[in-house]
Amino acid sequence: MAASSTNGFRVIGTRPIRHDGVDKVTGRAKYGADYAFPGMLHGKVLRSPHPHARIKSIKVDKALALPGVKAIVTAADLPELPDKMEAAGEQAVNLNHLSMNILARGKALYDGHPIAAVAATSPHIADEALRLIEVEYEVLPPVMTVEDAMKPGATILLPSLRNKEDGADKETNVAAHIQFKRGDVAEGFKQADYVIEREFKTAMVHQGYIEPHNAVGIYNADGHATIYCSTQGSFVVRGLSAVVLGISEGKIKVVPAEIGGGFGGKIPIYLEPLSVLLSMKTGHPVKMTMTRAEVLRATGPTSGSTIRCKMGATKDGKIVAAQCWLAYEAGAFPGSPVGSGAMTILAPYNIPNVLVDAYDVVVNRPKTAAYRAPGASNAAMASETVVDELAEKCGIDPLDMRLLNGVEEGTPQIVGPPFKRIGFKETLEAIKNSPHYQSRLTGANRGRGVASGFWFNVGLQSSAMVNLHTDGTVSVVIGSVDIGGTRAAQAMIAAEVLGVDINDVRPTIADTDSIGHTDVTAGSRTCFATGWAVYEAAQDCVRQLKERAARQWEKKPDEIVFENGTLSPAQPGGDIKPMSIKQIAPRLARTGGPIVGRATVNARSVGPAFASVCVDVEVDPDTGKTQILRATIAQDAGKAIHPSYVEGQMQGGMAQGLGWGLNEEYFYDDRGILRNTGLLDYRMPTCLDLPEIETAIVEVPTPGHPLGIRGVGEVSIVAPPAALANAIYHAVGVRMTELPMSPPRLLKAILKKRAAGEAQAAAAD
């Protein structure tokens, strides 16, 4: 058992071995693609080779005639759904668009858009059958950038999208315009001594989860279906698949597999309804898995964007006005995270005069999905670069600049009520005091950059059960898929409350029929909200234990104390001996039956998260290649339940953010075809491209949460691209305004600066 730790916690804050560890390191853990059933068929998806085309006809006769092919489905096999919004996890989805993204109806809207699906006796036969499906397309001009999509007279993707601003009712590719306002920016800029205005572009990037999407659908003759898949939210898969298939939600059971990464990209459904549809048609279980190319062409990604950011500050460093304009690629259907981009872009700072305009723009690219603090990294790339530039103008250390303008408890948010207790400034102080920031960086072409990030976090609904077994061990049953080690944290919370050893707690992630509704593992909510439910469920166990002891000792429940897993009377005396859980557990049958603790939460108020990062780089000025020398992140975790997994989230998000900054990008050719459909040319950083990322956990408890937990999953990705840009500036003197800052882009900027310098020197001679 863990020795008693600081802060009055016994288990929380320690680093036990995760319960799923042995299965994972021995290869026994079951991921989505590991499932197999008798009589199972294999499904494959035919995808559009065109980014924008009308589908004139689909002929399947030849493909159906191939021996081994059992069924082929197209959009005609799915109900046509209304143009209506429904909530799903972090986002609301349009049902019509949802269905059209599963199988194209009428038009193909991106390279890789599903057109048809085949079930066959082997994946190879299914693959060959795809080649025999004849689709007649009328190719339409692709619209690939927000600039092109927003131009007057642009080719229209979705005729149902209407622009009703200015009293007009016109076709448009702009799905939404959002505006936030505070004070008077024109007046604000008048007070400024320095004004910086820059335009930024960020490339579309993928979440990069290593495990491709997968699903096994089994439809029974009694009208019930089961789906096995890797997902961030089994209840979301159930709800959305039911809608797409036109069957009632209660007739679907979703069994979540272990998941090989999601980062937001495994909230949407892709293969799940198709596997059930093919199973309906064939009467067999149907398994579908994507290739890497399919993952990159047709799932995820997050938006590329164009952002203009203008900020003004007084000489003494006070930011007095900010104006931002953001346009995000939504992909083929509306729903980019531009709203959260707009709400996060200035969130860390207390600026009296603000105007933010944001546009959600459809383009012939895959429908974007959530990606770790969706929309915030794009936005921070812009604002955190401009803040750095202002700090330089004012001659103020960039961390001090942020401390001077940073938000704290009581600061009014641009959108929403004033902040409750938050830990932004604490993360800045932690970076300031870190061995990294305290060290001196020397050498040519080397530079240090800092930046900060904000993310809302969400609460939402969770259910939990805590079962006390007759040997005194405990099982925790939850509906939250475990992506980042949350299962261990849930077990630790139960162990803490019940005073039992962490190894006497077994956490289980249940299917949708075995636990109450639980929202997605997303929005950094799992440890916060499901952890809250587990805490309450464990407290429910304690209440019941007290009742049992009271009955046995002929006292009232409030005369019993429960401490460190032991029940004893509040007033000692008589011959009553305290009882441990281990002692009472075998006697449950004689004291009233089993004990099951239950709780549900619908957490409305959450603790927003902040992180600040510091990055050192060295740039090769002859090739534009950036080497990251050192990286540190400080993040407010509220209360770190399992510090190793909190650090893992901090390091993981930072690694992704640095990759986003360095080399990751969707590369479409002139015809709108994605060229880098593999991980060779979609360049995520390898372990050789990143240093060991240093971490500093800050703990400013979230008010209202019983343990003070703050979500930790996302905010770590927000600041790194900007910190990298700032470091590059301090290394070689060029301000990068386009992501990724890949060698060709950086070399071009360096050579341009060098040429300008030479021209200036020549003029001076």
Binding site: T291, K625, L662, L680, T686, L751
Partner: protein, 294 residues
């Protein structure tokens, strides 16, 4: 993926017969690190795959200072790196072979396969071009020897005729003060593909640091690997000073015919050809000066 037939002949004769019998529908399989990916992606659809790894003659490295190097077409890259003669006499080629993929990939991938795949970005081809390597081919009409410079015709296309396969690569033994080097530019630090590759081989007269022989090979900056003839010639007979290196680098840039693609712009590639030519020549020269073979 479509159904394929697989054979693993034990002799060169048998392999040639199998390949000849199936003509364009057959494809030799060496390490498979390109072919298997092409099969799965459907970019090549051979019906017949002839595995050449079990032919003893193709799986050998033989080297002597008298006869030079004979490198079998099916020798995995890792065996090159593990070979003391290769590291000593052909450090540039060895480095190129050691840059391909991961250690696992190097245990399968071969220099022969790298050449026959015909990618302009192949890492070992510019190193072979710099060393003046020759390719020994066997086919239904007998054997022939062709230079590696000119072996590739276009992306994915080589001089190999239907039914023909690469048997070995032949490289002359290095002169007394000769060596080679290969550098590539990749955006990451590993697990990547050349955006620019430059191989250089130099033979020096150390009495006055004069260049006796020079060859520069370029990769990923044209539809095929390129022998930078003018750049190479510019060095011969010259003292290897900064000016000579600069001149050669400029001529190498002029020899490149790159395009814009997802790996880099043409403008970027031209600049980096100059940078890597300077760096590669400097390394090759240092090695050549230190070498004292024969």
């Amino acid at each position: 993926m479509h159904a394929i037939n697989y054979e693993a002949p034990k002799s060169l004769d048998e392999a040639v017969k199998l390949l000849a019998a199936h003509g364009e529908k057959a494809r030799p399989l060496s390490g498979g690190t390109d072919l298997l990916i092409q099969l799965r992606a459907g970019t090549r659809r051979p019906e017949f795959v002839v595995d050449i790894k079990e032919i003893p003659e193709l799986a050998r490295i033989s080297f002597s200072l008298q006869h030079g190097l004979k490198l079998g077409a099916a020798v995995p890259c890792i065996a090159i790196h593990e070979n003391g003669d290769m590291r000593k006499y052909y450090p540039g080629l060895t480095e190129a072979a050691h840059l391909i993929g991961s250690l696992q990939i190097q245990s399968r991938a071969t220099v022969g396969g790298n050449l026959c795949n015909g990618s302009p970005a192949a890492d070992t081809t510019p190193a072979l071009v710099a060393l003046g390597a020759q390719a020994r081919l066997a086919g239904p009409k007998g054997e022939r020897i062709v230079p590696v410079d000119g072996f590739c015709l276009a992306p994915g296309r080589t001089v190999l005729q239907p039914g023909e396969l690469l048997v070995e690569l032949q490289i002359p033994a290095p002169e007394r003060h000769a060596s080679d080097a290969y550098l590539r530019f990749i955006p990451r630090n590993e697990m990547d593909i050349a955006v620019v590759g430059v191989g250089a081989a130099l033979s020096l007269d150390v009495s006055d640091d004069r260049v006796v022989e020079a060859r520069i090979g370029l990769g990923a900056v044209g539809p095929t690997p390129i022998f930078a003839a003018e750049a190479s010639k510019s060095l011969i007979g010259k003292t290897l000073d900064a000016a000579a290196i600069e001149r050669a680098a400029k001529l190498a840039v002029a020899a490149a015919t790159p395009i814009d693609d997802m790996r880099g712009t043409a403008e970027f590639r031209r600049h980096v050809v100059g940078v890597l030519t300077r760096r590669t020549l400097a390394i090759a020269a240092e090695r050549a000066r230190a070498a004292n073979q024969r």
